[in-house]
Structures are given as C-alpha cells and as structure tokens.
C-alpha cells in the first residue's frame, strides 16, 4: 500500500517505484514502461480532475499480485493496482479518449491507460473513486 498526497511533484517518485516493481515481477522492460505510464496518467487524472490540482488531498494505491485461471487449468499471474481518491463522483461516460487520427493536443492519457492494461475498471464506493488496473504477464511462447 502506498499513501500519498496529490502533489504533482510526487508523480516522478511513483513512476520510479512502479517501474522497479514491474521489472521485479518479471515484466519485460517495454511493458514495465507502459504500465508505469498508465499509472502515471491515472494519477495525473486524479490530481487534475478529481482534486482540481489541489496538492494536499489523499491518494491511496494498493498493489498485489493478480492471478487468473484460464483454460486447461493454466494460471496467469500479473499485477493488480487499485488507485483510490476521495474526490467528487466521476461520470464514467466521460472516460473517453480522442481518435488518434486527430492530431491535436489532449485526450491521450486514457488511451495510454487502456492500451497498457488488460483490465481497467472504475467504481465508486463509500465516497471513494476506485480505479482498478490489472496487467497479466505474457507467457513465453514456448511454454506448455
């Protein structure tokens, strides 16, 4: 668990932590970077939109190993990250990126998150916004 305030200056600290954690869990470096990017974009969204750039609001991050059972009893492992903030309720229908064909600033953050993660789920419980991100480790091609 990581508890921090919504200070933009902490974003680089979290990036360093997540990148090292994902590498430690065995994600290839390219995936480690894309997961880190997704978490960074999600945190930035909380700071900007949920807390309106106020730097003293609480954010809690939970990390745990993810596991899922697939066909033939095959088990996949990965990383699950839950980001929680106490900002106002967010309208999930506003979670839209922009078409990549449009070359204009903005709207890429959500696309980066969705592109990087296998599961992106938003929910609100007990006055808390919860964003659940899951990424599974790709199995080696020759694994049986």
């Amino acid at each position: 668990m990581l508890a921090l305030y919504s200070s933009p200056g902490l974003l680089s600290v979290v990036r360093g932590t997540v990148e090292r954690l994902t590498e430690h869990l065995g994600f290839p470096i390219t995936e480690a970077r894309s997961i880190t990017r997704a978490v960074d974009e999600a945190l930035t969204n909380i700071v900007r939109h949920s807390y309106g750039n106020r730097p003293d609001q609480p954010i809690t991050m939970y990390f745990r190993r993810a596991r899922r059972r697939r066909q033939c009893e095959e088990v996949e492992s990965g990383l699950e990250i839950l980001l929680c903030d106490r900002g106002p309720a967010v309208d999930p229908s506003k979670f839209r990126g922009r078409p990549l064909e449009e070359i204009r600033p903005g709207g890429l953050g959500l696309y980066f998150i969705r592109q990087a993660m296998d599961i992106v789920e938003f929910s609100r419980k007990s006055a808390t916004n919860r964003l659940r991100l899951v990424k599974y480790l790709a199995r080696p091609r020759n694994a049986v």
Partner: protein, 110 residues
C-alpha cells in the same frame, strides 16, 4: 527540468533535460511557443537526449509546437529520442508526423 537554448544561424536548438510530464510540460510548451511565435525561428530543434519520460501532456506540448511551426511555415524537429520517448510517440501514432533525426548533425544537414 532544465531547458537551455542555443542559436546557430537560422536554427534554434533546445536542449531539454528531465521528464516532460504534467509538472514540466507547461514550461516546455511556453518556451517552445515563444521561440516559434516571437523569435520566428525558421528551424527549431528539440534535443530530447536527456529526456527519459514524456507523458500525454508532454506529447500535447510537442503537438502544439508542431502546429505553431506549421502555421508560421517553420520546421519543428526532434532529435535524440530515448526508447521511452519513441514508444510514446509510436503509441500516439505520431512517429511519422514529426520530423525526427538521430542527432544534431543530421538535423542541421537536413
């Protein structure tokens, strides 16, 4: 984030160092747009060799610089992209939109 500027003939080179993220991208954006719009530099080169991370707001700043350059008929060039910077531009389908060179010599010879 450190931003230093060099002027060579009709080219301005921005040497950037640090991450271009939510915290720093407004400074990058402001510096680049000022150079394009006020100094009317015919060719602006962004040296990203010391930039190891660019987030979506950083990409947005680069797009704004590119658009401002196009509007004024100047060139906007990126050099020294790290793997991470290259990945984020590829992900955004912008690798072929920007004029990109490996190093300063190639950019100046272009």
């Amino acid at each position: 984030m450190k931003i230093s500027t060099r002027r060579l003939d009709k080219t301005t080179i921005f040497d950037l160092s640090g991450d271009i993220d939510f915290v720093n991208s407004p400074e990058v954006r402001q510096s680049v747009l000022r150079e394009i719009r006020e100094a009317h530099t015919p060719r602006l080169v962004l040296n990203l060799r010391q930039v190891h991370y660019i987030d979506s707001s950083g990409v947005a700043s680069l797009i704004e610089g590119l658009k401002a350059s196009r509007d004024l008929g100047s060139r906007f060039i990126l050099i020294g992209l790290s793997m991470s910077a290259r990945e984020v531009l590829q992900l955004s389908r912008l690798l072929k939109v920007f004029e990109i060179y490996e190093n300063e010599e190639q950019a100046l010879a272009s």
